[in-house]
Symmetry: C2
């Protein structure tokens, strides 16, 4: 099958995947999605650190940063801007679920276009919906950006309205966890809280960066269990991921918030930090 | 990448998978593993029915039975015996988690060798271990043989001893659910119970068949929540799947059971039913 996207598999251009790859068979692998600007992957050190930690939690051998950087440079030799998606799977081998430790992992890097979002998102904020699917608790997988994402796929099927930017997922105890493709942060006065991800959810790089940056805005950052009711009482709801940075959610679950300044400030600080990197 | 196994992708020999396939990206698909004897897939009607039901639960378009049968016949044109593994993924398309309904699913059929198990399994039974990983509750995915199998992979990493045939998984409330690659049935006197899979687990074809066959052995079959403590009090523990049929577990969690006759009777009935099909 010819695939439509520029991609490298184990460094080879236009290579394809074995039908026996465990990434396909079992979702046995991890991934990352990061922006590339003028040929340069953004916040690379933190993305590689997360990739390495996620691999380690699954006992998956992580490719070297230099191999991955070389792949990204190869795909972005034109110094253009876009997205780099990295997938590390456990490769093709082992019988059934048992792992053959001699099989090398498969390293996939793909180049895709940067998603184009409406400009008004930055001014008037985005609209979120509440998903009915509840995330399962699995502490052994919680936080990892792994390839078992059927919960996200099913949750994303719950709405068709193109005005809705993302859907909020609660866990099975009713605590708010994240969006299907974003993390969330909630401001209560001078406190900026993000849900605890010990049981489920993906701990994104931008969430970590915002937790670090919060003090420079006079905010005390923290991690907590946050019920839907508490979330509805937040002064501001921020959604974030590596591709769009941070936006305020101004409509969610029947309530409207006035546009405020935090998302813009965070976006500026996230951008400034890029440039220091 | 050249793959080592005879495989058809959308009916084409030796085709490979796009790195952008959602089966790889998200585990967005389902699978089945079934024996092929002298070129003929076994218990095909029930396997196709399950495949179709699983696809439907994920809103995935299921290929026709005739296309799949043609693939299997192509791979087993030599009338040999082995295993057919079918994977149906949502294909390559859609942006992020959102589905593009115009993208056709990917149909993969692979031929592999039948696993060779020691002959004494049928006489003296098999040994099971108790996994520490607890299965998460996700009713929207429970019962489906989907491609999100990291729990099974992590559970299978828990033992190396080749004498151990499978590991028993409990759910997060402590109820017994299944083995990593088998279903379980427990005999208490004249009752044959199998765990309820409304919250997690894979509902295999052989489990269904045994529930149907039980009455012909004078057993009352049923589905129930079964704690580990109850499981330890069973008169017989049976593990089953489509490849090996049924075996008695004679060692589990520090206890030994005497070899009895139920597994052999079940195996005979399962085999006999094949021939009627």
């Amino acid at each position: 099958m010819t695939h439509p996207l520029p991609a490298l598999v184990n460094g080879r251009p236009d290579a394809l995947i074995s039908p026996a790859d465990r990434g396909l068979a079992y979702g046995d692998g991890v991934f990352r999605t990061l922006p590339v600007i003028d040929g340069k992957p953004q916040v690379w050190a933190l993305h590689y650190q997360k990739l390495s930690t996620d691999c380690s939690r699954l006992s998956l051998s992580c490719p070297s940063a230099s191999d991955l950087l070389q792949d990204i440079q190869h795909l972005y030799a034109d110094q253009a801007s876009g997205v780099a998606k990295i997938i590390i799977s456990r490769g093709a081998g082992g019988r059934g679920y048992a792992i053959n430790p001699e099989v090398a992992s498969t390293r996939i890097v793909m180049r895709t276009a940067m998603p184009q979002y409406p400009e008004h998102y930055a001014e008037t904020g985005v609209q979120l919906t509440l998903c009915s699917l509840r995330l399962a608790h699995q502490p052994k997988l919680a936080g990892i950006k792994h390839l078992n994402r059927l919960e996200n796929v099913l949750a994303r099927m719950e709405w068709q309205d193109p005005e809705i930017f993302d859907g909020i997922l609660l866990d099975q105890q009713g605590f708010a966890v994240e969006g299907t493709m974003s993390n969330i942060l909630l401001r209560f006065g001078s406190r900026l809280l993000t849900p605890d991800l010990r049981n489920c959810g993906v701990a994104g790089v931008t969430r970590d960066r915002i937790l670090q940056l919060a003090s420079s805005l006079g905010l005390q950052a923290g991690i907590a269990d946050i019920s839907l009711e508490q979330m509805m009482r937040a002064d501001e709801i921020i959604v974030c991921n590596s591709l769009f940075g941070a936006w305020q959610a101004t409509q969610f679950n029947g309530k409207t918030w006035q546009p405020q300044k935090l998302a813009e400030q965070l976006k500026y600080l996230l951008q400034e930090q890029h440039e220091i990197d």
